[in-house]
């Protein structure tokens, strides 16, 4: 059953200065906030939004990769891809469960996804026209997701932090699997190398956009940092990702599609890092606002599955009710 209206919602605490200060003190002491603990309404709302978006991203993210399950080139690759896409669904399930502890139902979240009210990661609004896209998604998209998610294992909200521990383990496996797939292409024929480079060309910039707007333009960042929902800023995480990935591309002989990419020894407090070219924020906002190549198709596919599955869910509910009635009748008869 869904845990609608579970926590805090019924007797909301008065959010006076003392309450806010006490809450912040718990955060600063690195205590985990649990579902039944008092929390500011804005903290709860931020988490519902973030965990919900994260869950939706996992679910919508099944589609671009699912596009290749029936066409994977070998049995080994077919099994790996199917297991991977299944993992993403599993992540969606934990995350919806984590969000439910905050008093919002999975059904409600699903309806918000289908109506367009709730967002999901824009990266999944790009298409997967070739097999190399499966490698690029694992390597770059899951790679970027890990950068974002590893710090979330220490997020102040307990259920989210704990869900992230398992999610990160699996994502890290996916990332290596994706890289290994790209490596096989890069070591293959000219056609395979072309396919790999083409996928890198298409996925590189959208992957950098996954970290969100620059810190100077990010509206949700400061408060989330203070609440320790976020531990690093968008730009810090993006930089980490670039620094980690450039070397991996070089190793397999692929070229990052950025003429401005250059090693800068001064970066990262003198440890060195890569300077990279400007991100096309017009494209970013266009896709966020629904104008990406696959936005409509992704939601249409989710809506189709949901609508066509309605009779199954109704039947399961009807059957469960009948079973409960039969159990009641049996109890009465026995008495």
């Amino acid at each position: 059953m869904y845990s609608q209206g579970l926590i805090g919602a019924d007797d909301k605490p008065v959010e006076d200065d003392a309450f806010i200060a006490a809450f912040q003190a718990r955060i600063d002491a690195e205590e985990k906030i649990e579902p039944n603990d008092p929390m500011p309404e804005a903290y709860r709302k931020t988490l519902v939004r973030q965990i919900g978006q994260h869950a939706h991203s996992e679910i919508v993210g099944m589609l671009p990769e699912g596009n290749w399950i029936t066409r994977a080139p070998t049995l080994r690759r077919k099994l790996a891809l199917l297991a991977k896409v299944q993992d993403e669904g599993g992540h969606g399930l934990y995350l919806y469960s984590a969000a439910e502890t905050l008093g919002v139902s999975r059904e409600q979240m699903t309806e918000e996804l289908l109506s367009g009210k709730a967002k999901y990661s824009s990266i999944f609004n790009y298409p997967t026209p070739t097999w190399a896209d499966i490698g690029a998604i694992g390597w770059l998209v899951d790679g970027a997701a890990i950068m974002n998610q590893v710090p979330l294992c220490r997020c102040s909200f307990g259920p989210y932090a704990r869900a992230m521990v398992r999610v990160c383990r699996e994502e890290s496996f996916h990332q290596r699997q994706g890289y290994e797939l790209m490596m096989a292409l890069a070591e293959g024929s000219d056609k395979q190398r072309e396919m790999a480079q083409d996928a890198l060309n298409r996925w590189w910039w959208p992957s950098l956009m996954m970290f969100g707007p620059h810190d100077s333009d990010s509206t949700n960042s400061d408060q989330s940092m203070q609440w320790k929902i976020k531990r690093f800023t968008n730009d810090e995480l993006r930089q980490k990702f670039v620094d980690a990935t450039v070397v991996q591309a070089e190793k397999i002989g692929l070229t990052i599609p950025d003429p401005d990419l250059k090693w800068n020894p001064e970066k990262n407090d003198g440890e060195g890092g890569y300077d990279f070219g400007p991100i096309d924020w017009d494209e970013f906002w266009r896709v966020v606002k629904g104008g990406g190549p696959m936005n409509r198709d992704r939601i249409a596919a989710r809506k189709k599955a949901w609508d066509e599955g309605a009779w199954v869910r109704e039947a399961a509910n009807a059957f469960a009710e009948k079973q409960a009635q039969r159990a009641d009748a049996a109890t009465v008869a026995a008495e």
């Binding site: 099944m62 994977a72 070998t74 896409v85 919806y96 199954v312």
Partner: protein, 252 residues
């Protein structure tokens, strides 16, 4: 030396059943009626594809002609696939998919259990794992057949339609080709006819709870075991084989 060809042929035909059904189930991934089914259908598909790899792997090992599991899975023409017709049927609605899986799992579990009692040694290794996996498929799909059969008016009608559509394909589960007969005679494989009564009983048990009845089948649909497939099969192969056909001879 004894001719292994009949056994190899049968291993490949059983592998084909698993590959093609696994392929069909995998089509649901991301499109299921609820998230739990988005997880459980790929789970069952993974079991089936894993068994297909075992069976093909064993076949090419016995054959010893340098073919790989992927050569067998991806590089044959439609007539050379010997899966039963039921597994290649398009998914249809959820009721069709679940029922098809139930029919197949109920048969294969009995098949593997019988192999475990008396059959080829290597197949016994596959059987130990497969029969456990199939017990889960039977439970999961059997429960859905009951839930849908005894759910709403619509679900009951859909469940009945699925039975009417798919039951004619079940006879082929028990078909014995000359190669299969050769393996039965050699003590490598069980005789499918001996599994029939138990299969009927497990179907009957679930159908009873689901308010379904087993239809008369005046005209069973068969042909897959001899390579005579349905119209849907070529389309399935065009997806399955796309990469290997478009980029022949490469390593992935």
């Amino acid at each position: 030396m004894e001719d292994k060809t009949p056994f190899i042929n049968v291993l490949i035909s059983l592998g084909d059943d698993h590959l093609i059904l696994g392929h069909r189930l995998s089509e649901w991934c991301g499109h299921a009626p609820m998230l739990e089914e988005d997880l459980s259908m790929p789970n069952m598909a993974l079991d089936l594809l894993g068994q297909a790899r075992n069976l093909y792997g064993y076949a090419v090992e016995l054959e010893a002609k340098g073919r790989t599991e992927d050569d067998v899975a991806f590089l044959r023409s439609d007539r050379e696939y010997k899966n039963i017709l039921m597994v290649e049927r398009p998914n249809g609605d959820f009721a069709h998919t679940i029922l098809r899986q139930f029919y197949f799992a109920a048969y294969m579990k009995l098949f593997w259990e019988s192999v475990l009692k008396n059959g080829d040694g290597r197949l016994q290794e596959f059987a130990a794992k497969a029969s456990k996996e199939l017990a889960y498929h039977i439970r999961h799909c059997g429960e859905w057949v009951v839930r849908l059969g005894d759910g709403t008016e619509e679900s009951a009608a859909r469940m009945k339609a699925a039975v009417d559509a798919l039951h004619p394909y079940t006879n082929e589960l028990f078909d014995v080709t000359p190669d299969f007969q050769h393996c039965i005679d050699g003590g490598l494989l069980p005789e499918p006819a001996t599994l029939r009564a138990d299969w009927d009983a497990s179907v009957e048990q679930v159908f009873q709870q689901a308010f379904l009845s087993v239809p008369e089948v005046p005209f069973p649909q068969t042909g897959g075991r001899t390579g005579h497939h349905t119209e849907a099969f070529g389309h399935l192969l065009s997806e399955l084989q796309y990469m290997q056909r478009a980029y022949p001879g490469l390593t992935w």
